[in-house]
């Protein structure tokens, strides 16, 4: 395994170094003391565990027991371990603790099992004394497979014996400690298998400092321990709030229809199916599922009730908010419905914009963005620490709810408005008149867009070519980019001037671009152009369909008055449109209009 993680490791160590400087200067106080006990030198663990715990919001500090004094420290923990310690980590190795018995075992000495049992019982009894005090939560290692270089009489013939010894010892130990209360285990062998024995070992530091393991191994050990501590001491997820399009299935139901979305036994639909299965398994563990989607409600329930590949059914959904409102409003409703606090909610969405909005408004909500690479979608959910849970009592939970105050303070500081959020997007739009090279995209948008579409009028490519050649129709195309990326052409409007009346034949925006007031900017460009051409009135049409409720009030909200038969009028002498201040309209292109 090539080791490209040195930057990450350095970042994590620096988190700890910087934090300990803050403690020294009295600028911050530690609130989470961890005692480290081990049979070998484990000082690097302090750095990585420090850094990873800080990432989870703890202010850790450490007590380190003297070298190779695990048993003594456990038995005399009341005198030795500081009384404000919250957690104890015990790391032991077969090579340090039970090497003599191993060597005898490999030599097939008689009656060795009672020696082995006695030795392990020493450790088990010491750990029992520690946990029975109920003072701390304890994480104890299941040792990794021994490094054969430490064993003097290891040869080809006794290899299977080493394996037998390893399994005997770890099974004996694990069976004894697994039911101890306030204790959990960390399987170092699983981590060692994952990174490889070669990568886990550092003989240089072993011979100089009695420190056996590589930085790579230490980081992985620390990550797992801090995950366990987080799961024990921090609130775990009570509710998963799910976007629908692009999150529960591929595609957009409002545009592609129930038949066009990706959800099947084939790639990519199968990924969404697997994700749904995993979500259902989390629901079975007692986590609520809720929907938060910008959609027409009927479209979403249509999928839940009628799509044969849906694993999640309507009855699995505890509550929902399906509307065109900004999502931070919907999540408040969901939290209220379920009577849970925001810091127990995980929000999953495929859209960076929605994730960013949620992070800005409610940093307490754990927002997970569906990865662009679908193959890692399930993996990211499964590795997410938010779903980690250790069995714990309500009492433990209350006692240990350490950081909620700190987080709440942060949230209060963050009272920002939706407009503040839009201002951070650095949104730039360009409105142009259509050229030959845009026609394919224009035809595609005209025929695909259902939701923000005033007339849902469909045109073939030949229709468009005909209108384009006749020169009397104006085709506006709008493209946009913001801090999340370049969206390309995301909206179309078609207009035609008839004497002094500018008739808006089509006006649509892809749903990817909604929620940013781009539609207002597009309309204001069109109105300016109409005035330039001498129009006195703009006449627009809104035809209601089952899909475009979203656009229903658009004309009314922009100063149009209802005429009759779906037509709306605006008097261009008096119409004033407030151009959205957060949108930068490209100047050069404006002049070509």
């Amino acid at each position: 395994m090539s080791d490209k993680n040195h930057t990450l490791r350095s970042l994590i160590r620096n988190l700890w170094i910087d934090k300990s400087k803050l403690y020294e200067r009295g600028l911050e106080q530690p609130n989470f003391k961890v005692a480290l006990l081990s049979t070998c030198t484990i000082d690097p663990l302090e750095y990585y565990l420090g850094g990873t715990l800080i990432e989870y919001g703890f202010n850790p500090d450490f007590y380190k027991s003297p070298y190779n004094q695990v048993i003594q420290t456990c038995l005399n923990h009341k005198e030795i371990i500081p009384s404000d310690t919250k957690a104890v980590v015990v790391i032991w190795r077969i090579e340090d603790f039970i090497l003599e018995e191993l060597e005898k075992f490999l030599k097939k000495e008689q009656n060795i099992f009672s020696d082995i049992n006695n030795k392990i019982n020493l450790l088990i009894d010491a750990i029992r004394a520690l946990v029975e005090s109920k003072n701390y939560f304890t994480v104890v290692s299941i040792p990794s497979f021994p490094q054969v270089s430490y064993i003097s009489n290891f040869d080809l013939q006794n290899r299977p014996l080493l394996r037998e010894f390893y399994f005997y010892v770890t099974k004996y130990f694990f069976n004894a400690v697994r039911d101890f209360s306030n204790l959990t285990t960390i399987d170092l062998n699983l981590i060692q298998q994952y990174i490889g024995v070669e990568n886990a070992t550092d003989f240089r530091t072993w011979y100089l400092f009695k420190q056996p393991w590589s930085e790579i191994f230490w980081l992985e050990i620390a990550k797992e321990i801090s995950r366990l501590l987080r799961a024990y001491y921090m609130p775990t997820a009570k509710c998963i709030v799910l976007d629908c399009d692009g999150t529960l299935w591929g595609g957009i139901v409002g545009e592609d229809s129930i038949f066009g979305i990706q959800l099947s036994e084939e790639y990519p639909g199968i990924i969404y199916k697997q994700v749904q299965r995993y979500l259902l398994s989390l629901r079975e563990k007692g986590i609520f599922l809720a929907l938060l989607s910008k959609n027409n409600e009927e479209d979403v329930w249509d999928v839940f009730e009628n799509h044969k590949d849906m694993i999640l059914k309507r009855e699995h959904i505890a509550t929902y908010s399906i509307s065109w409102e900004p999502k931070h409003k919907g999540i408040k409703k969901i939290a209220n419905d379920l009577n849970i606090s925001l810091n127990t909610i995980v929000f999953i969405d495929d859209n960076s914009f929605e994730i960013e909005e949620m992070n800005k408004f409610y940093p307490d909500v754990k927002s997970l963005e569906r990865p662009k690479n679908l193959l890692s979608y399930l993996d990211i959910l499964k590795k997410s620490v938010f779903f980690d849970s250790l069995t714990l009592t309500e009492e433990d939970y209350l006692r240990n709810n350490l950081i909620s105050l700190e987080k709440r303070r942060k949230e209060l500081q963050n009272k920002l408005t939706y407009q503040d959020f839009l201002n951070t997007l650095d949104l730039k739009i360009v409105v142009k008149l259509m050229q030959q090279q845009h026609i394919d995209r224009v035809v595609q948008l005209l025929n695909k867009t259902n939701q923000f579409n005033l007339t849902t009028r469909r045109y073939t490519k030949d229709d468009i070519l005909g209108l384009y050649d006749s020169k009397d129709h104006l085709f506006f195309i709008i493209s946009a980019q913001d801090i999340f990326g370049d969206y390309g052409i995301i909206g179309i409007a078609i207009g035609v001037l008839n004497k002094k009346v500018f008739i808006l034949d089509s006006f649509l925006l892809s749903c990817r671009a909604l929620g940013r007031k781009i539609e207002t900017a597009l309309l204001s460009v069109i109105i300016k152009k109409a005035r330039k051409l001498g129009a006195k009135i703009c006449r627009a049409e809104f035809i209601l369909t089952p899909k475009n409720v979203l656009a229903k009030d658009f004309l009314l909200e922009h100063g149009f008055k209802y005429e009759a038969d779906n037509f709306w009028l605006a008097d261009l002498d008096t119409l004033t449109l407030v151009e959205p201040s957060h949108i930068k309209l490209s100047e050069e292109d404006e002049s070509t209009l």
Binding site: R13, D43, R204
Partner: protein, 78 residues
């Protein structure tokens, strides 16, 4: 702005950069003990993307030694 090596030594030993000179060593710096030696080696290896042999690790007895060894390993700008 002190150089990268001085910064690393100061950060790892948790002392002021101005207290670090070429002659800084375990003999004249209380914070430079066997634990911080181990951590310092990690910091240097990972920051300068070098790997020391066990013999080289044993030679790292002052800032001057470390600098000389990094130069020998053709690390630039040390």
């Amino acid at each position: 702005m002190k150089d990268k090596l001085v910064q690393l030594v100061a950060k790892t030993l948790k002392i002021d950069e101005n207290e670090v000179s070429e002659s800084t060593s375990p003999n004249n710096t209380q914070q430079w003990d066997s634990l911080t030696t181990m951590i310092l080696i990690t910091e240097i290896e990972e920051s300068f993307k070098v790997t020391f042999s066990v013999e080289e690790m044993m030679q790292l007895k002052s800032v001057k030694d470390i600098r000389a060894l990094l130069r020998m390993k053709e690390v630039e700008n040390v």
